[in-house]
């Protein structure tokens, strides 16, 4: 699913955020990306979301070479990737239902299909009863579940989560991880960046540890 070969990302022509990184993630795998702050986890995820391009090497995701994608190919590629962020990135002026269905709306999906799918994913994360609430009326855990529901709207083969439990207490963190594990159980490849060692231990999946832009451990 993900194949990074000799990947490097340089800032200001001299600072390496990633250095000669090679990593392979199989289809349907659940992988943690861990390491201290500044290790390169978020940079790697930004490359996966094509928010930035690699300076050297190449990165292939589901057959797409992310280093050479054109603008329209980036749009096409991103439609197959779900994402979850630490700060949820929900739109405050929209209801839960609108936050979720909006993903399909901007892709031009018919309204009836949007509604059906939004209700389906909200039910899946157990928040269909809060569909008319606004994000400010929800707890942190609920907001992150909504963000996961939104990530699943297009039924993507890959979900990327950047510190999804960073703003949550340990119980809620485990709840979110269990949800992502369920996503993975459905065949979706899940890549989670986190620095929470305890959570990685509890979930017990493959983890890749980065430090100074290099892989230092795989377990």
């Amino acid at each position: 699913m993900i194949e990074a070969k000799n990947l490097s990302k340089l800032y200001d022509r001299s600072v390496y955020a990633l250095r000669d990184l090679s990593l392979s993630v199989e289809k349907g795998e659940f992988v943690f990306l861990t390491g201290p702050s500044g290790a390169g986890k978020s940079t790697f995820l930004r490359l996966l979301l094509v928010k930035e391009r690699a300076s050297e090497g190449e990165i292939l995701v589901n057959g797409h070479n992310l280093t050479t994608l054109s603008r329209s190919e980036v749009q096409e590629y991103r439609r197959g990737v779900g994402f979850v962020f630490q700060d949820f990135k929900l739109i405050p002026a929209r209801t839960v239902f609108e936050n979720v269905s909006f993903v399909s709306e901007v892709l031009g999906v018919a309204p009836s299909q949007q509604r059906r799918r939004a209700f389906q994913v909200l039910k899946w994360v157990g928040l269909q009863h809060r569909m008319n609430a606004y994000p400010r009326e929800l707890s942190g855990g609920e907001q992150q579940r909504i963000a996961i529901a939104r990530a699943l709207m297009n039924d993507p083969p890959l979900v990327i989560a950047d510190e999804p439990t960073g703003n949550l207490d340990p119980d809620l963190s485990l709840e979110i991880m269990n949800l992502l594990r369920e996503v993975n159980a459905g065949g979706t490849t899940v890549l989670v960046a986190t620095h929470d060692r305890e959570l990685i231990r509890l979930v017990d999946r493959r983890s890749v540890t980065l430090d100074h832009g290099r892989i230092v451990e795989m377990s």
Binding site: Q75, Y77, R78, I91, E105, L107, G108
Partner: protein, 296 residues
Amino acid sequence: MRAIDYALRHGWASLVRGKGSTVFAVLAIALASSVLGAVALVTFNADRVLARWWESAEFSVYLRDDATSEQRGMLETLLDQSNAVGGREYVSKDQALARFRREFAELASMTAELGGNPFPASLEVRLLDRADETGAGESLLRRVATLPGVADVRYDRVWLARVGQGLEALRRVGLALALLLGLAAAVTVASVVRLGMHARKDEIEIMELVGASAAFIRGPFIAEGLLQGGIGALASLVVVFAGYRIGVALWGMDLSLALDGMAPRFLPVSLGAALVAGGMLVGSLGGLIASRRVGS
């Protein structure tokens, strides 16, 4: 269609959300449109009176009282041979006097006091339409003026053309001013839309990350500018119309006299629609400038 519907719905929502800043953008466009609308109103009515004068414009050759019949014959031959002339009519001194008494009845008594007939005999010439385009009319005017027995030649379209040029210059100045103000309005709209974009940066990021097309992401911002432009231009039409009604109420008679007896008229629907379309275009341009880097 869904993209347009989405853009208009969210553009409108953003416009309502940012009421305070929206007012500035709408005012800027209303100001530019009002200037253009006022100039259009003035030139539209001036064009009407000019068109009427153009239609009834005369080419008159006034003869000296001592002009001989040979001199008059020479003049008539020249006119008949000219390819600019469609017809001519001789008006004798007596006919000219009678016409004056008929058309200015209240002044008729004055002519009796003069003791003689002060009106010259003349030849009223009807020029062909193409004579103005080819310049043959003016050329004929110069030749006729040099003939013996000719006291004066009057060709209305020469000065009417000058008035037309003046009007055209006024129109261009008005347009230049409106363009300048329009540019300032577009910049104001761009700033207001940019403010809205800043408030919606998470939404834009999510749209980019889910793979929405650039057109879909920019659409609401362009629509917001378009709506601001449309509202501003409509407001300017209201302002110009109010000015027109006040002008008619206060100086209706004077305006009618200035327009050669015609009642002043408000802008036709086509010009009003063009003004609104122009406002919408300027607004859209502002939205486009503000969102040009989004989704790329």
